[in-house]
């Protein structure tokens, strides 16, 4: 690849062009004309993946604010995988539910653009704009089924609280700029390291506000209030997309901001995140046990997973940083696939996402039941799946950094969480199917291909993790 000043934005541009093409195609589409708009999106995402591979190890940067270092590229690849899987599951759902196809795919692609931008941005202002791009797209996707009052309510709640948290985030940026005179992360870091500002309350206010903004996006307790409702109300594919993509992008930016710009103040923010992590792990697990709706249960589970990721952020040693990347990938693939199964089980009129809808699934849809089992085991962190390696890696990072308490709480909550994952598995295999329930929907070819592909990835990451672990370790060596 040639070295031009625009190299670092190429992956993003591929997706932007795909999204624009989808919009144009939708604008000029005949009324009943069918178009493979999802395929167009996949082409763009594959372009992003290829360009990310070409940029690997090159440390390209564009406009001074977008850096395609290995860290950003690793997250970009994760996001591309999330995007491709989402589009594949969506192709079934969009047709089934009669969603507006062009707008749907355009919004998914724009959200991916925002996520990639957020993961590769080296400037607080760009991170904010990226955050807004992905948030706006996801708010609309949450409420895209306008005939469903639950979805509308979820979108509205998500939007109001999200706008509130964005305000906090922006206020934090303003304070940071006021103190350091820049929005670039490297300059802020250099300024803060050179200056002994420990007596200035302003920078602590700034850190606190940015922390609130990020904590909201990764739904860390106590900023998780929107999560169960938004995740339950949104269409299941969208839930899978936002519980992984938004979280991965937000974590990438979170890690970058706090471990580069605010590194000099880690003594101040580490205890805050410690409290967040513990509260998140415990609440996500304990409340998850009480849920009877599978989507809501997975919402609490994803809150708990955010807590495990925070543990990696606190540990902040080399193992911890690489573990965040690996865990993000493992969690993203698993969670998208799990929500994909739920999405494929639903019909236009019934979501089929209650726990009892899964009873006896093994007898009706053995393939789906088996795939769901693998996803749940991986979320629970049982070997030989991706989730096990991810958790192992995170907790060993915590132990080697001396955070024994965190590691113990993490392991204990993982054990408890296995209970509610296994409950679904038991329902699927042990129970007889309630004859009163509607038969689960038939699953189209594309959806099945996506499911099988994600299962292969889950096992690959679980059995032969070395290669990806090396890549993750390589990623963090370039920065921080």
């Amino acid at each position: 690849m040639m070295d031009t000043p625009f190299n670092a934005v190429v992956p993003m541009l591929c997706v932007v062009f795909a999204a624009l093409a989808v919009m144009m195609a939708e604008a000029f589409r005949g009324r009943d004309e069918q178009m493979a708009l999802g395929g167009l999106g996949i082409v763009g995402l594959v372009g992003a993946a290829v360009s990310s591979m070409l940029l690997w190890n090159r440390n390209a940067s564009s406009f001074g604010v977008i850096v395609a270092d290995n860290f950003g590229l690793f997250v970009t690849m994760t996001l591309v995988i999330v995007g491709v899987l989402t589009i594949m599951f969506s192709s079934v759902v969009v047709r089934r539910d009669g969603l507006p196809a062009g707008e749907y795919y355009a919004l998914v692609l724009f959200a991916v653009v925002g996520m990639i931008m957020m993961a590769t941005a080296n400037d607080l202002l760009v991170i904010f704009i990226a955050l807004e791009i992905l948030s706006l797209a996801v708010y609309v996707l949450t409420g895209i089924r306008r005939d469903d009052p639950r979805a509308t309510e979820a979108a509205f709640k998500y939007f109001l609280l999200g706008a509130f948290s964005s305000a906090f985030f922006l206020y934090g940026i303003a304070f940071t700029y006021g103190v350091s005179g820049s929005t670039r992360l490297d300059r802020i870091g250099a300024f803060l390291a050179a200056q002994s500002m420990s007596d200035s309350p302003l920078i602590l206010v700034a850190i606190g506000m940015l922390l609130v903004g990020f904590a909201f996006k990764i739904s860390a307790v106590p900023f998780h209030m929107w999560t169960p409702d938004a995740y339950e109300g949104a269409p299941a594919v969208v839930t899978g997309f936002m519980s992984t993509g938004v979280k991965a992008a937000a974590f990438a930016a979170f890690t970058r901001v706090f471990l580069s710009a605010f590194e000099p103040f880690s003594v101040d923010w580490a205890p805050m995140i410690w409290i967040l992590a513990v509260a998140t792990m415990i609440l996500g697990t304990v409340v998850g046990v009480a849920q009877t709706n599978v989507k809501r249960m997975l919402a609490y589970s994803s809150i708990a997973h955010g807590g495990y990721l925070l543990v990696g952020l606190i540990a902040a040693n080399d193992v911890g940083k690489a573990a965040i990347l690996f865990y993000l990938l493992a969690y993203a693939v698993t969670n998208v696939a799990a929500f994909g199964v739920i999405a494929l089980l639903g019909t236009r009129d019934a979501a089929n996402d209650e726990l009892r809808d899964f009873s006896g699934l093994w007898h009706g849809r053995p393939a789906l039941a088996a795939l769901m089992t693998v996803c749940l085991l991986s979320l629970g962190g049982l070997p030989p799946t991706a989730g096990f390696i991810g958790k192992w890696y995170i907790f060993s990072a915590a132990v080697s950094a001396g955070y024994y308490g965190l590691a113990i709480i993490g392991v204990l909550t993982s054990v408890v969480s296995v209970f509610f994952y296994l409950r679904v598995v038991v329902m699927m295999y042990m129970e007889e199917r309630d004859p009163g329930l509607a038969a689960p929907a038939h699953v189209g070819g594309v959806g099945m291909v996506a499911l099988v592909a994600s299962i292969v990835v889950i096992f690959y990451l679980g059995v032969l993790p070395t290669r990806v672990l090396d890549l993750a370790a390589e990623s963090i060596s370039t920065i921080f």
Binding site: G98, R146, I203
Partner: protein
Amino acid sequence: MPETLIFYALSGFAIGASAMVIGQRNPMYSVMMLIASFGALAGLYVQLDAPFVAVAQIIIYAGAIMVLFLFVVMLLNAPKEDGSEWDRSHPLRQPAVVRLGGLLASLLVVQLGWALLSARGLGGGVAAFGDAETVSSVRVLGRVLFSEYVFAFEATSILILVAMVGAVVLARREGEGS
């Protein structure tokens, strides 16, 4: 001296207009008063040597956002507030609620007073970057926006595009589902 006079005139106008926003029974008049208040604020920004903020205040807030407000008022078809429905039984008229509101209001006043009085001390942490002349110039702003922040600027177009698609998706008319 005239600057001080203008400042007090504009501030008084802004406060008066804002008070009338919440004092009106007709939501349409409230919106009009809000526009007046924004106009006065724009004048204050000019006095603070922030002409771009003043122009943005007029173009975006007093212009576009107020048009949106007006349309929403018309869309919701909010009638004049009746005295009868605003009686003692309203949940916001319960004594506990009133007391809590009063407490919060007085807290706000105390906080504002404290912030204003100790502003000098808190501002000490803020570094000064350039004098007012260079910071306020729209020309300098344009130069910075289109050099250092050019990527953020271009990214904004994507943001606006997403908002556009979102608005069309969420507000499309019934019966146009597919």
